[in-house]
């Protein structure tokens, strides 16, 4: 084999780099996130009123895009009212609508975002709700 030594060293380095994340975490798995919707604000609502602006599955998959659109509609177009698919109307506001119900940012936002290692910059500016230490 030409340059056998070099190739073998290269292969070892490559394997090392590729497996590093697994070796580094020691094969542990992070607990699956479990976002909670049991904030006092939500529990105050009647059972059949406990609904987000759009269905749960849609919110789970598309909330980031929805927030981006809300942002542009409010800041750029001056439209502040969102009529949901069920006909209910909401004021489009992260701080004043979303987080009024989901007042548990640590449990509701951060847990999934940490798990999937995304770092949304919403909270660089937007003020997070005050959470009671539990």
């Amino acid at each position: 084999m030409y340059n056998g030594g070099k190739i073998i060293i290269g292969v070892i380095i490559f394997v090392g780099l590729v497996t590093f994340p697994f070796l580094y975490s020691g094969g542990k798995t992070t607990a699956k996130p479990d976002p909670k919707v049991d904030t006092p604000e939500i529990l105050k609502l009647a059972e059949n009123e406990r609904k987000c602006v759009e269905p749960k599955a849609y919110m789970k998959g598309e909330h980031m895009k929805m927030l981006n659109e809300w942002r542009d509609w409010v800041v750029r177009d001056g439209n502040t009212i969102y009529t949901a698919t069920n006909g209910k109307q909401y004021t489009m506001s992260l701080q004043n609508t979303c987080m009024k119900c989901h007042s548990n940012k640590k449990k509701f936002c951060d847990e999934c975002h940490n798990y999937t290692a995304v770092k949304p910059y919403c909270w660089d500016c937007h003020i997070e709700p005050k959470e009671k230490e539990s």
Partner: protein, 262 residues
């Protein structure tokens, strides 16, 4: 087909770039939220073009100015940066006559007028030079009511708008502003800003949307008159029709929407 390694790599590289670009373009189109069910709030205040008249005859005491400034800065979480005046953030502030209206003073002007403080803010120009220069449309003139808006999400912090504004109305966040906001007086309904973006008066677009007058106008006890300049029956038009008014640097063609009467 004969192809050497060099050509193969070139073609492979170019197809990868095109492929990735194409996929992301399709992705972007497909995933827009399928919703056009949006509308302005029914009780929102509406105008063709908002304007403000500053009635200087009603600003007599220090307190008359401070009340307006505090109302604005508190409701918008404007940081109070005192450790370095170079990094100051101002939306609404006092400027003496000689600085607010440079070039109009003469050598025999009384000291009193020369140093008379005027309340100044973004002029929400009808022909804004800041909007013309912004490379990302982060600052733009709202078509609906002429407000010169700031989209702090989009601003890249190039500060071209600060060079273009002849009124010094724009402030840049040279550092994280949050430590300089009084925690006790923080308005939890309005965002703060992050370092590296430009900010300025937005004519309280968020209050107008809920049917409220701008915070400074509300606090001014009639010294600031606010209304639609294109409506001949509005308060601002009545004042402007009855009294002599002037604007800051009208010769620059920016057509400010803030008027002063003495």
């Amino acid at each position: 087909m004969s192809m050497n390694r060099r050509e193969f790599l070139k073609i492979a590289g170019i197809s990868t770039i095109l492929g990735l670009g194409g996929v992301s373009a399709v992705h972007g189109l497909r995933n827009r939220v399928e919703a056009s069910q949006i509308s302005p709030a029914p009780k929102a205040l509406k105008a063709k073009r908002w304007a403000m008249v500053v009635d200087m005859s009603k600003f007599k005491k220090e307190e008359d100015y401070q009340r307006c400034i505090d109302a604005c800065h508190q409701v918008h979480n404007v940081p109070n940066i005192t450790d370095n005046p170079k990094h100051e953030i101002k939306w609404l502030w006092k400027e003496t006559y000689e600085h607010a209206f440079p070039g109009t003073e003469d050598e025999y002007l009384s000291e009193e007028i020369k140093h008379l403080p005027f309340l100044v803010l973004c002029n929400h120009c009808d022909n804004p030079s800041c909007v013309r220069v912004c490379p990302t449309k982060a600052t733009f003139k709202r078509k609906s009511d002429g407000i010169v808006m700031m989209d702090m999400h989009r601003c890249i912090g190039c500060r071209f708008c600060m060079a273009a504004c002849p009124y010094g109305a724009r402030s840049f966040n040279y550092k994280d502003p949050i430590p300089f906001i009084n925690e006790a007086k923080k308005n939890l309904e309005f965002p703060t800003r992050t370092k590296g973006v430009v900010e300025k008066c937005t004519l309280c677009y968020e209050r107008l949307a809920t049917g409220l007058q701008p915070a400074c106008v509300e606090a001014s006890k009639g010294a600031l008159i606010f209304g639609d300049i294109e409506d001949p029956n509005s308060g601002v038009r009545k004042v402007l029709g009855a009294r002599y008014s002037f604007r800051r640097r009208p010769e620059l063609g920016t057509r400010p929407s803030v008027y002063y009467i003495i």
